[in-house]
Structure formats: C-alpha cells, structure tokens
C-alpha cells in the first residue's frame, strides 16, 4: 500500500447555477458516502476540508492574512488515502463529489517519504 494525497480544487468564481438548498444537502451526503466508502475499504488515512481563513508567509517573512486566491481555483480540501498504485488512487479520486461541479478538479499525488528512495 502506498500513500496518496487527493487535492480537491473548487472553482469559486462561477456564479451560474448556484446549488439549491436541497442540492447542498445532497452534496453533503455524497461527501459522507464517498469518505465512508474509502473508510470501508480501509484506505482512508486522514483528511480535511480547509477553512477559508489562513495566513500566507512570503519569502521575505512578511505574514499576511490569506489565502486570497486570484486564480479561478481555490483549494477546498484534501484527504490522504492508502492505495495499491496510482490507478487505484485515481479510481478513488474519480468518485469525489466535487467533480460534479463544473470547473472543479481533483488532483492525485503520491506521497513520497524522504526516508524512501525516490521512485522514477
């Protein structure tokens, strides 16, 4: 089993089709089901949705409030999973409910421990 990071990116500037209150409820249930299905496969390590508050530290050590995304996409959250290989991890990520929203994306990255040898 290898560790993978699933990053969820949310397109927050698309104003069209704001979800209805009932849709929001469905989204929430879909996330619950998604996470539960990963837990059921014993592949869930940890995860969180991010608060919108944060600090940004720049290279000159100036700390500002943030993150203030200028880009279309903001990081909505991430989860750490265990998977057999990239394909397995991508399959799990594919079921992430965030993908139902237009403009949203999910990124899968393999976590390479520094104590391990880098794989090429």
């Amino acid at each position: 089993m290898e560790e993978y990071l699933i990053l969820m990116r949310l397109d927050i500037l698309t104003k069209e089709n704001q979800p209805s209150p009932e849709q929001l409820q469905i989204y929430m249930q879909q996330y619950q089901e998604w996470v539960n299905s990963i837990v059921a496969q014993k592949k869930f390590k940890s995860g969180t949705a991010l608060s919108t508050e944060g600090k940004v530290i720049q290279s000159d050590h100036i700390i500002t409030d943030g993150p203030y995304v200028e880009t279309k996409e903001s990081l909505a959250g991430f989860i750490m999973i265990l998977a057999n290989d990239f394909e397995d991890a991508a399959n799990i990520a594919q079921n992430c409910p965030i993908l139902m929203g237009e403009g949203n994306s999910v990124e899968v990255r393999k976590v390479v421990g520094i104590h391990k040898e880098k794989e090429h």
């Binding site: 979800p19 209150p21 409820q25 996330y31 996470v35 949705a49 508050e53 203030y68 200028e70």
Partner: protein, 407 residues
C-alpha cells in the same frame, strides 16, 4: 437532531441573515456579492460537513465562515479596499473589519432589508421575487415552482429587480420617522401579497404553498420585534394571517382543490393558530384604529367561530360594508353577497349582485346558481354550466356536476 434536511432548513433561516448583515455593513450596492458570499458559505458547509462531520454549533460555524469569506473578499477587492474601507474605518473608527453577526445586528439588518425590498418604487413582481429569494432564502427552483415558471425566467426577474434597486437608489437606511408609516404600509402590502401567493395559488405543491404562508407570518413577527414597527396595523395583519392559515389544511382536498367554507371539516382547523390570531387581534385593538387589516382580521376571526349564528353573519356583513367603504372591489361585493344570503336570504343577495360584473369568475356563477336553484331551476342550471366552463380543476368540475345533478 435529524440531519436529513439540515442544510435546507439552515438555508431558510440563515441565508437571509448573512446577506442582510453583509449589505448593512458593506453597502447595499454589493447585494450580489453578499449573495455570493452567503451561497459560498453554504457550499463550503456542504463539503466540509460531508468530509469532517457536522459541527456542534452549525449556525456558529456558518457565521464564522461567512465572516472569513467577507474579510477575504474585502481584502481581495481593490475597489472596496480603496472605496469602502477608508469610509468604513473613518465611520467606525476601527481597524478590524469584523462582520457583526450579533442577534441585535441581525435583527436590525433584516428589518432594513425588509424595508428596502418592499420599497414602494419597486414593481410588486420584483418585491415578491426578491422577498422570496433574499428574505426567505428560497431556492431559485422553488420560486420558479411557486410562480409556475422556470429557473431562467426567475433568474432574469431577480436580476431586473436588483437593477431596479440600484436605479432607484434604494438605501438600506431605516426609514425616517416622517416616512415610517408610508414605508411600513408598503411592507405590509408586500407581506400580504406573499401570503396570498401561497394561500390562493394554483400550485399543486401543498408544502410549498404552506411555506409561503409561514414565511409571510415570519416576516410579520420580525416587525413585531422592533418597537418602532410593532404597530397596531402589523398586529392586525399578523392576526389576519394566523386566522387564515388556521384553515389551511381544511381548505384543500387531496388534489389541491378548494373545499368551500361550509363544507370544511372543522376538526382540521388549527386551534394553535386561532389562539395566536386572537392574541395579535387583541394587541391590534389597543389603538382605536380601523385599517383594512383590522377589518379583514375581524372577518377572519368570525370565520374561525364554528357555530353558525345570526350574529356571526351579521357581524361579517357589517365588516364587509366597512371594507367596501375603504376600497371598492367586485370580489368584495361577491363575498358580501354570499354573507347577505346567509343573513337575509336569496332576494337580498340577488339584489346585491345586480350590476356586479364578474364574467370570468366561476364563483360568481356558482353563487348565482345556488341563489336561483329553488326559485328558477332552469336558470340555476345555466349559471352552474357557466361556472363549469370557467373552472380548471377536475375536482371543481366534478363538484359542480354533482350540484347540477341535484337540481
């Protein structure tokens, strides 16, 4: 706590509060931005709660996130940074732009929002649409269903309404004492229409209709929470709405057809709402006032009395007469004619209907049918057939056909 409709319920109550506070604090011209911030807050909630579980204090969580989103937005927007912030800091004399989501400020913001959206210069259609979206937290689809319309049309309508708010320079200031009465009467008219939108609607969706009525009642209670808007008229309107909604379940049959007053199952009348109506009616009679709402509330009060006494119908007749002095309407005359039939019999009612022109109203013809059925059965049949041509619901058709067969 049942979480199966947690988000829709929170949306109904909190969406409007977040928007109202944002608008009061950052300027009304940012209405769309306030809507976006509120919508995003809920979107974030749906994801986070799905991933991490539901927080212990969901409302507190929503407020915290809305505050942050607002702060981020303020920082992000250079226009605001240069325009709003200097003014804001000069006025408030503070450096931290914290959104004030205290109960007191929420109430004040909501009141201002109610006054702004029910501004007399806005077309009524815009007022009702904006009320449902911004004051009641209805989803676009729900509003479309309530108006038998579609999402695109409603979105366009709301956009037009928001443009009107800007064009007419409507502010979020609490009305000045000299204009309070006029502005409040505009608010009451809007609430009254909102209620009727649910009560008299052709929409089949019973729950949606009842929600509309309950929202109108909720807006009224917000007005009562502030001394300046806790007036005799507001109490009268609230009393009227409570009396009306007490018969909501008894009025509708399984197919959404109307069950006439005389045929209603009185066991289904909601006693709680009748009690509430009586309480607010009592509150409204503390001042010797006779607005349209006082008269209508009194008529509605008599309708909540189950016993069919002479006094009941005579009182209702008197009240209708006063109402007609305030504003003439053929529908009021039609209602009064029915009451007159109860009080003085057929002849008087027929005389009353002489000269009333309601050629497109099925109830006009069915009342005429009722009045003629013992005197001139052939004439009665013609009137019932006229009514039959005007009704749309199968249920109404079948009850008229039954009536025809009895003659």
């Amino acid at each position: 706590m049942n979480h199966s409709d947690l988000l829709p319920n929170l949306f109904r109550t909190e969406y409007t509060k977040i928007i109202s506070v944002l608008c009061k604090q950052y300027g009304f011209f940012q209405l769309e931005i306030a809507e976006d911030i509120a919508s995003e807050t809920f979107l974030t909630a749906s994801q986070t709660w799905g991933l991490n579980g539901i927080p212990e204090n969901p409302i507190g969580w929503l407020y915290a996130v809305a505050k942050n989103k607002a702060k981020n937005f303020i920082h992000r927007e250079s226009i605001l940074y240069n325009k709003v912030l200097p003014v804001y800091q000069r006025e408030k004399n503070i450096t931290e732009i914290e959104l004030d989501l205290s109960d007191e400020n929420i109430l004040d913001s909501q009141l201002r929002m109610i006054f702004a959206i029910a501004h007399p210069s806005l077309p009524l259609e815009s007022q009702i649409g904006l009320s449902l979206r911004i004051l009641c937290g209805f989803g676009i689809e729900e509003i479309a269903r309530a108006f038998l319309s579609n999402k695109e049309t409603i979105n366009k309508r709301l956009l037009r309404a928001k443009n009107k708010l800007r064009e007419n320079n409507i502010s979020l200031e609490f009305p000045k004492p000299c204009e309070l009465e006029e502005r409040l009467s505009s608010v009451l008219r809007t609430i009254y229409l909102l209620f009727n939108e649910g009560y008299l609607s052709q929409v089949q969706d019973r729950i949606l209709r009842k929600d509309l009525c309950l929202e109108a009642i909720r807006l009224c209670t917000i007005l009562l929470e502030n001394n300046e808007t806790n007036t005799s008229d507001v109490n009268a309107l609230l009393s009227l709405l409570c009396f009306h909604i007490s018969r909501f379940e008894a009025r509708l049959d399984g197919e959404g057809g109307i069950i006439l007053y005389g045929d209603q199952n009185r066991e289904l009348w909601n006693k709680e709402f009748i009690k509430k109506g009586e309480y607010f009616f009592f509150q409204s009679s503390k001042e010797p006032k006779f607005s349209k709402y006082h008269l209508e509330a009194a008529i509605a009060y008599w309708h909540t009395r189950p016993e069919d006494t002479g006094k009941k119908w005579e009182s209702i007749y008197e009240l209708y007469t006063h109402l007609l002095e305030l504003e003439y309407s053929p529908l009021l005359l039609l209602n009064r004619a029915f009451v007159l039939f109860k009080v003085k019999g057929r002849e008087a009612a027929l005389e009353e209907l002489n000269g009333v022109e309601l050629k497109t109203n099925p109830y006009y013809y069915s009342l005429l049918g009722e009045l003629y059925c013992d005197l001139e059965p052939e004439k009665a049949k013609i009137y019932f057939r006229n009514a039959l041509n005007l009704v749309t619901k199968d249920k109404e058709k079948s009850s008229l056909l039954k009536r025809l067969a009895q003659i």
